[in-house]
């Protein structure tokens, strides 16, 4: 199926653009898309999130091979840290590793397939409603302690049982939205209240409009202050 994709992002309020620690990758030719959310309490999380999304669109893993698929990415992350950590606290932080969520989407023919670890979410919109929400389905399922992929193998012991995958049929005019957690939580709250949050997102057609929307949602207290990423994939009629 023919698709077009757009990506939007905004750093946490009070933070500079270079402090944004989400990442996304879009490979429209191969119909592969990914978002990741580097955990704010870990350092070099942005670099780790970027490795994960770039790795996904290059070679999407199945849950079964995720462990081996990540090994070269972990090695790249570790090589990137070499020589950077000179202060005692940077050394200690680097030893803890970086952590990130990962949500990847592939479209093949008339089917979509998704893989997720953590709380970045996919919403499949069809005929004015949410046809699928993955991996979280209700706003109350968000916490600030998700299990995330670590750049350090030793921290991933409890991850493997929490890798989830899903797939489904795709129809003409479907819209698929990939979001990091704060925006996804807002989206689900709004949907649970019977509103149509995808309308507001679709009306933002320039980066300035997207930023203005995010600012107003934050100012009104509807959106938690966090990095925000949205990848929107539209299927042709």
């Amino acid at each position: 199926m023919e698709t077009t994709a757009t990506a939007w992002w905004a750093p946490k309020s009070g933070h500079a653009a270079n402090e944004y620690e989400d990442a996304y990758a879009v490979e429209p030719g191969a119909h592969r898309y990914a978002v990741a959310d580097g955990a704010s309490e870990t350092s070099f999380a942005k670099e780790w999130a970027e490795l994960l999304v770039a790795g996904f669109v290059q070679e999407p893993p199945s849950p079964a091979v995720l462990h081996d698929w990540m090994a070269p990415l972990q090695a790249t992350w570790a090589a990137g840290q070499k020589g950077k950590a000179t202060a005692w606290y940077s050394e200690a932080k680097a030893r803890d590793g970086a952590f990130s969520s990962l949500l990847g989407l592939t479209i093949e023919g008339d089917r979509w397939r998704a893989l997720a670890v953590g709380d970045s979410c996919l919403f499949v919109l069809r005929a004015g409603r949410i046809a699928h929400a993955f991996p979280l389905e209700r706003a109350e399922q968000f916490s600030n302690r998700p299990v995330l992929l670590s750049s350090m193998s030793r921290a991933n012991g409890q991850v493997w049982s929490q890798v989830v995958a899903n797939e489904g049929e795709l129809q003409g005019k479907d819209r698929l939205l990939l979001m990091t957690d704060a925006l996804a939580q807002w989206f689900l709250v709004e949907a649970e209240l019977g509103r149509r949050p995808w309308g507001a997102l679709a009306r933002a057609t320039t980066p300035e409009q997207f930023t203005a929307l995010i600012d107003s949602l934050r100012a009104g207290g509807a959106l938690r202050n966090d990095d925000v990423t949205l990848v929107s994939v539209e299927v042709a009629a």
Partner: protein
């Protein structure tokens, strides 16, 4: 709602530790260590953890101001080295100015079913030097002076947290009214939080976040319990998620408990549940 302010570089919060360094702190406790050495280790560990918590790729972000006041022979700011005499320092200057850095070995899961021994740096800011009486009232008054100036400069911040660590009885009067005056300090986000840690030589079971005074081993523990702030909802929920027994009446009071636990509940963002 209170205790909801986001802790950020624009609106940092503050930790002030009050450390009993009276003569009785040279007594041994639980594991045979001197109480004063156990507390010094815990404070150094807390400052280490807090520094690491605030470390990002580019360095340490100033999410907190931190101070240590010791009370015993004298009541005074107790950080040593370049920060000597400073009552509240930004966490980045704390991280960058330990008095010295020791090396210790730590056992770590190697992720392949084995245990690896790794060398870690252990910075020291605070040394045990126990002598004299227990002027807790005076320490609470100095804390009041230090923090009242801070809340004046940070009206929108998450309220400061004062953690008092002692083995018991104040020798300069009843500390209750000084504790109340301290707890009355506030930002627009709520009142100052006063937590008390009682280090006792008795072998009674350790308690974290007690919710009633019955069963506490002595009158000092009960007094410290009553001086302590009730846990705000966010900290209570966070503690409950970690598996601690807490109720709506739980206070920031610990008896012979691991002090490092106290600080794990203060979040500054997403913390992976598989990060320990």
């Amino acid at each position: 709602m209170s205790y909801e302010a986001e802790i950020s570089r624009n609106n940092p919060s503050a930790f002030l530790f009050l450390i009993d360094m009276s003569g009785s702190m040279t007594d041994p406790y639980g594991n045979g260590k001197r109480k004063a050495d156990g507390v010094a280790d815990a404070i150094n560990k807390l400052l280490t953890n807090l520094s690491i918590k605030c470390t990002k790729s580019e360095g340490v972000r100033d999410y907190y101001d931190v101070g240590v006041i010791s009370y015993g022979k004298r009541v005074e700011p107790a950080l040593v080295g370049e920060l000597a005499g400073v009552s509240l320092a930004s966490i980045s200057s704390v991280a960058n100015h330990p008095a010295r850095v020791e090396e210790r070995t730590k056992k770590e899961d190697d992720g392949a079913g084995g245990i690896a021994e790794v060398k870690v740096k252990f910075p020291i800011w605070f040394d045990a030097k126990a002598a004299g009486s227990t002027p807790m009232c005076e320490a609470l008054k100095l804390a009041h002076t230090t923090v009242s100036e801070w809340v004046g400069r940070h009206p929108y911040s998450f309220p400061p947290i004062v953690i008092n660590i002692t083995d018991g009885e104040a020798t300069d009067g009843d500390p209750m009214s000084d504790a109340e005056a301290l707890r009355a300090l506030s930002t627009q986000d709520g009142n100052l939080l006063l937590f008390n840690c009682h280090i006792s030589g008795t072998s009674a079971e350790s308690i974290l976040f007690a919710d009633h005074e019955e069963g506490l081993p002595d009158q000092f523990a009960k007094l410290l319990f009553n001086m302590s702030s009730q846990l705000p909802e966010a900290i209570r929920e966070s503690a409950a998620r970690e598996g601690f027994k807490v109720s709506e009446k739980s206070k920031g009071f610990a008896f012979n408990a691991d002090l490092v636990e106290l600080i794990r509940f203060l979040d500054i963002g997403t913390r992976p549940s598989n990060l320990r």
